[in-house]
Amino acid sequence: MITLSRTDQSVFGRWWWTVDRWTLAAVALLMGFGVVLVQAASPAVAERIGLDNFHFVQRHVLTLLPALAIMVGVSLMEPRGIRRTALIVFLAALALVALTPLVGFEIKGARRWIHVPGISIQPSEFVKPAFAVVAAWLFTLQKTTDHIPGGAISIALYLLVVMLLMLQPDLGMTFVISAVWFGQFFLAGLPIVLVAALVAMGALGLMGAYLMFPHVTSRVDRFLDPAAGDNYQVNRSLEAFQNGGLFGTGPGQGTVKMSLPDAHADFIFSVAGEEFGLIWCLVLVALFAFVVLRGFSRAMRDENLFVMLAVAGLLMQFGLQAIINMGSSLHLIPTKGMTLPFISYGGSSMLALGFGMGMLLALTRKRFGAGDAP
């Protein structure tokens, strides 16, 4: 470890002494877990679909490094820079999302991906953290200025984002963005009557999804009545946890990865449960909880409304994604394909997470004279 003097005034020196090193350490640990688990889970998947055994492992590590770079790079910025970067990324990503129905390619019935020479990216992943920051900014403007209708702009942007995502369609992303946006709106002082109204609308939205999309219908039905249909993935996942028990079968000894198609992504937590057991899984849950709850508590102490809302938004997004992934694997909620942050294989998701976490770290840095308004 490089030793840095307390009085070091270089950019990196100031960063080191002001950044939340505990969160940084937790994220680094998560990334480490991710590398181990992708190594455990992905060779079986790669072999099944006829790729080189370490195809996913190599790509995972290769995306981890830029993600790490993005995270650190972004975390060097000041809140003002974050705001602007988020706005730019948001607009650019949203434009790409708008383009995907036209130039994107289809995977499993949805157009979410576009080709950039070299890699394929899923622009909606970048919309997620960027929109959280932009929305926080707009809500803050609503509270601090009279001449900019931040709330109205926020609502308008939200509707635009949802519309574009439903075109793909991407229900999971829509759900997370909606939940985060609503959470931020709630924190920004949405009257309690409207909170109730929006909760009701959200419930209606979910009901609508249940009624309109056959695959949602089937998943919810299967969750509510396990005997009704094919719960193959969830059953295999639960078997994996049971098989793992307290201490796990040992790295590489699991069998669930042989039969789950998304063992390296959506069901990586099952592989963790089988091969590393309850204890390590609890450590994993604790790491996620630590990042989220520590971030919340720092946000709570912050004097800047924008920082508080942005940090809360980014953390809700991060936490929600983790909870949905782990809850699906444990059959606590209906199956929803969602990556486990920093653990699962997934290029765009990893880069977007690095971006989001970078913004979080930047915003939670110790600032002197922290009350500055946007």
């Binding site: 601090t144 309850l278 849950v285 709570m300 409304l305 059959h331 606590l332 500055d372 308004a373």
Partner: protein
């Protein structure tokens, strides 16, 4: 609080007064609400942790942690046995293990092949290695291992090599009753004999099918028949023993036969059941039915006589005698000397419709019923003219199966009641059914005539001291191409014993026997078939529970004597 915020981020001038209050209020409210969100997330993470604990260590799923000991797979096979009348197993199913490999899972094919060929010495190393290296997911290594072999291979613990439970049909008696029992295909479905006709009953059943066959008699019949076939260089043979009272077939042998374990590639001749599927012109044995026909008219007695002094000319055919006496013969003599000319004269006396009616009643003109699929239909002349009647009288022009001959002979000698033949053991409690086909008087006369053929005639070789055999031989020229072939003959003997109270009918046939020195170059029914019949009777009669009697006992002699003295011959009166 540096107080440096007179402008907002966009550098626009704003009113200062209300703003800090609103912002501070918003911050306070945000903090309060953030604690709600924090609590919600905290609870979610606790929920996940509890779910984890439940899923990993608490959950009792449908599947227990420790597999329950699977109940030992029953050794009960899924196809029932076939047994003989005494319960001796003729066909049974064994549960076996077959060895296969998934080459993808075999880690070291060379080592695995070495171990396997060391354990199963009949396997070829190169062959096994090639199989284990194949780009497949399934290869058979060896089918139907013995329990010991599967134990040894199991102990080797080679990855990728496993067992498949199979069932194998086993015939402990080998080819002994192959034509009757039949065999099964690779999927254990019956393809011949009882295996085929009782396929449904045998499948999934544990109740054995009980045949009427007796393996002891079957063995004797097969051994003797095989010996005769070899001695006379015959191309085949057939033999049956029939229970007159019940209609049960106690023995049925057809040669050549085959190993039912390996029926692949058998030619038709080997699989052919000569007793039931083959139909032949039986020759002189048919004179049994012709004589019965004559007696049934009521006008002809054993002492009636017919002119056999010269051959009969019908169109371009000449009917002559083989053992020609060239004189007037009594009915008894016609039978005894097997006179064709006499037989023709007798049927002309009885009439064509009467002949046809009797042969039909005796079941010789329609396909018999038996519990195996291989039953042949007789070749009946149509139209049935006088010329047909004339040739049929001495056993030509009507082809029937040996089964039909046996059944009809039994009806003629048993007092005149036709019993349906069966290959299944009969339930003794079941009442016997049967139709009268000839009168008891005719039957009695026929017994005497048949006894005469053994004591004085062509079937002397069939004599079995103590068992009072009566019978009739036959030597029929086979039709090859467009005409009869004097060198290709069917030599047969049909007999009943003890003829004073008939219990069993025996029929033996040799197909194309060649004359040998011991018989003076003859291979006729009398020279080849009758002695064979005698040998069989001498061996099976004790097993059938028959007590030998003194054949010269006055009461027996009296019962079998042709009572009325013949006019021109002292032969029949004396002895």
């Amino acid at each position: 609080m540096t107080g440096m915020v007179p402008t907002a981020g966009f550098g626009l001038p704003v009113r200062v007064a209300p703003r800090p209050n609103r912002a501070v209020h918003a911050l306070e409210q945000g903090r309060a609400r953030l604690s709600v969100a924090m609590a919600a997330f905290g609870m979610a993470f606790v929920g996940i942790s509890l779910g984890l604990v439940n899923a990993t260590v608490l959950r009792q799923s449908a599947e227990p942690d420790i597999a329950q000991a699977a109940p030992a797979r029953t050794l009960q096979a899924s196809r029932a046995d076939i047994v003989d009348r005494n319960g001796v197993v003729l066909a049974t199913s064994l549960v076996t293990q077959s060895l296969y490999a998934d080459p993808k899972l075999v880690i070291n094919p060379v080592e695995a092949a070495e171990k396997l060929t060391a354990a199963l010495t009949d396997l070829d190393y190169g062959d096994v290695l090639q199989k284990l290296k194949a780009d497949k997911r399934f290869v058979w290594i060896k089918r139907n291992l013995s329990p010991r072999e599967s134990y040894i291979v199991n102990r080797l613990g080679i990855p990728g090599v496993a067992f498949q439970r199979e069932e194998r049909r086993v015939y402990p008696q080998g080819s002994l009753a192959a034509h009757v029992v039949g065999f099964t295909g690779v999927d254990n479905n019956g393809l011949m004999g009882i295996e085929q006709s009782f396929d449904k009953e045998l499948r999934g059943s544990t109740e054995a099918v009980n045949l009427s066959l007796d393996v002891r008699l079957q063995h004797i019949m097969r051994r003797e028949l095989k010996g005769a076939v070899e001695e006379f260089s015959a191309i085949g043979g057939a033999g049956m023993i029939f229970d007159i009272r019940t209609g049960e077939i106690l023995s049925m042998v057809s040669l050549p036969d085959f190993d039912p374990h390996d029926p692949v590639g058998l030619d038709e001749n080997t699989r052919f059941n000569r007793n039931t599927l083959g139909v032949y012109e039986m020759g002189s044995t048919f004179k049994i039915f012709n004589s019965a026909l004559a007696f049934e008219t009521g006008r002809i007695t054993p002492t009636s006589h017919f002119d056999a002094s010269r051959p009969i000319q019908v169109g371009r055919y000449t009917i002559s005698d083989y053992h020609g006496k060239n004189r007037v013969l009594s009915v008894a003599e016609v039978f005894q000397y097997s006179s064709n000319i006499g037989s023709v004269r007798m049927v002309l006396e009885a009439g064509v419709p009467a002949q046809r009616a009797l042969l039909t009643k005796l079941g010789l003109t329609s396909k018999p019923t038996l519990e195996i699929p291989e039953v042949g239909a007789p070749m009946v002349p149509n139209p049935w003219r006088e010329i047909n009647a004339m040739t049929i009288s001495f056993g030509h022009g009507l082809s029937v199966s040996p089964l039909q001959v046996v059944t009809a002979t039994a009806a003629v000698v048993n007092g005149g009641i036709m019993r349906h033949p069966t290959i299944l053991k009969r339930n003794e409690a079941e009442p016997m059914s049967g139709e009268r086909v000839v009168s008891p008087a005719t039957s009695m006369l026929m017994r005497k005539m048949m006894r005469l053929v053994v004591t004085e005639g062509t079937a002397g070789g069939a004599k079995a001291e103590g068992y009072v055999v009566g019978g009739k031989t036959g030597t029929a020229e086979k039709i090859t191409g467009r005409g009869y072939n004097a060198k290709a003959r069917m030599s047969s003997f049909v007999g009943a014993f003890p003829i004073n109270d008939p219990r069993y009918v025996i029929l033996v046939i040799l197909d194309e026997p060649k004359g040998i020195a011991r018989t003076g170059g003859y291979a006729t029914g009398g020279a080849a078939a009758a002695p064979l019949g005698g040998r069989v009777i001498r061996q099976v009669a004790p097993l059938l529970g028959l007590t030998p009697v003194d054949e010269n006992r006055p009461d027996i002699r009296q019962a079998l004597d042709i009572t009325a003295p013949p006019p021109r011959s002292s032969l029949l009166a004396s002895h």
